[in-house]
Amino acid sequence: MAKIHSLQEAIRENVHDGDTVALEGFTHLIPYAAGHEIIRQKRRDLTLIRMTPDVLYDQMIGMGCVKKLKFSWGGNPGVGSLHRLRDAVEKAWPQPLEIEEHEHAGMAVAYAAGASHLPFGILRGYLGTDLLQHTTAKFIDCPFTGEKLAAVPAIRPDVTIIHAQKADRGGNVLLWGIVGAQKEAIMAATRSIVTVEEIVDKLDAPANSIILPGWILSAVVPVKHGAFPSYAHGYYARNNAFYKQWDGISKERESFLAWMEKHVMNTKDFDEYLQLLGMGGAQ
């Protein structure tokens, strides 16, 4: 059964320098609080995995936590580039960033293969694209039709971290809305942390809800508003304005560092960070 932890403790115990870490979330339920705690604890040489690295990974890359990024779409959705990601790729600041690039379909299949304990997954993909020169996919022949199919190596993170709406006291987690590849990422990982908006006595989940039983999780952590500026369906909306502001904050190294110093490094936890932003509602 998953122990209910503090976030500091959960990150300390489960995320180590050099680990392969997936902080998954497809626009919705991005685990910002957990990512900030990794930055605060100054983890280094991480290999980050996510289909859609966005502002959180921009922050982690800019703060020097990341050695390698495996992804299929990296941007500030609807706004533009991730300046820290670009600075790392284009100018090796604050350090070189190795990238392994995929298409969404390949990442999705690779997560499913990881969750299924298979060494690889198959799809009609990568073919006819220049991704082939920069990815780990190979081709295999169908033993029945002779058709050529792409094989992508399974994703097996050392630790997967996601945010969800709620958990009960046994650490059983319920999430809903846009759920991305979060279940697969959790089930593919050796260790797993789930931050949740709240701990409740009873989940009261409808039939066939997406539930992660506590016994497959390493740690469950209550962090109210823990996905801000992403959102938690049924709790708070996506703060699109913040995503737009990030473009300005992150454009220059100096403004980025000053912002991170003030908002992340000099706050003791996510709650203090939210207060600093005037998000009193998170109390």
């Binding site: 497809f26 626009t27 919705h28 289909m51 859609t52 992804f71 299929s72 779409w73 990296g74 941007g75 959705p77 609807g78 706004v79 580039s81 670009r86 790729v89 284009e90 690039e101 995929h102 298409e103 969404h104 379909a105 999705a108 299949v109 997560y111 499913a112 799809l123 009609r124 993909g125 990568y126 073919l127 006819g128 694209t129 220049d130 991704l131 020169q133 920069h134 058709e147 050529k148 809305g177 846009i178 759920v179 991305g180 590849a181 979060q182 279940k183 697969e184 997406i210 500026p229 959102y231 369906h233 909306a237 996506r238 703060n239 699109n240 304005a241 913040f242 995503y243 737009k244 502001q245």
Partner: protein, 261 residues
Amino acid sequence: MANTAESYTSDEMMTVAAARMLKNGTSCFVGIGLPSAAANLARLTHAPDTILIYESGTIGTKPNVLPLSIGDGELAETADTVVGIVEIFNYWLMGGKIGLGFLGAAQIDKFANINSTVIGPYGKPKVRLPGAGGAPAIAASCGEVLITLRHSPKAFVEKIDFRTSGGHMEGGDSRQKYRFPGKGPTAVITDLGVLTPDPVSKELILTSVHPGVTTEQVVAATGWKLQVAADVKTTPEPTALELQVLRDLNERTAKAHAGQA
């Protein structure tokens, strides 16, 4: 198309022209940005039964404002059903259930192959773009594909810096040897006009210019020697209704996205 509006922008013309390409009742896999605006305009005008699907797993979604991201809550709240990423790609997109894919691009070549990965060399990029996302699977698997982007010599290039998604590949019947399930791009809609592939060579040909635009302008805005159809048409102007619906949509959207933080 009786009522034409007094004035409109070239972006509005582009969105309206793209929207008109959607047949009512089609299942349509929609990229964020221009494709999303056009697809929703279609749904709010002539194609109310269009089934809009975003790669975030939202199927049959009917957003009241345009999503900023591919996974805005609005998409989930107004969807017929929301499924996970593995399912949307495996069972729906690559599973061959989608009639039309609607893509944007940073660069496009004469065979409608597109680049949304990088400008300049991959290892030493001039501009690092977001990357492939769902585009390669959309381009390969949907019954047909529409592409919409603004016209410029930097976007319409002889040779794209990176082939993110396959269009008509090396032209002619070369797409066939890749055994992609879908038939590929059937139109490219820009702020200057509409390009469609030649049935045999599959090279993009200018078949329609928007009102007030000359073929010379479009040729000048294209980085390869653009072929022009003998009977190039003029795109009908946006109707008053189309413009009103689009402007209302954009206004609601701007208000919704500014309202936080």
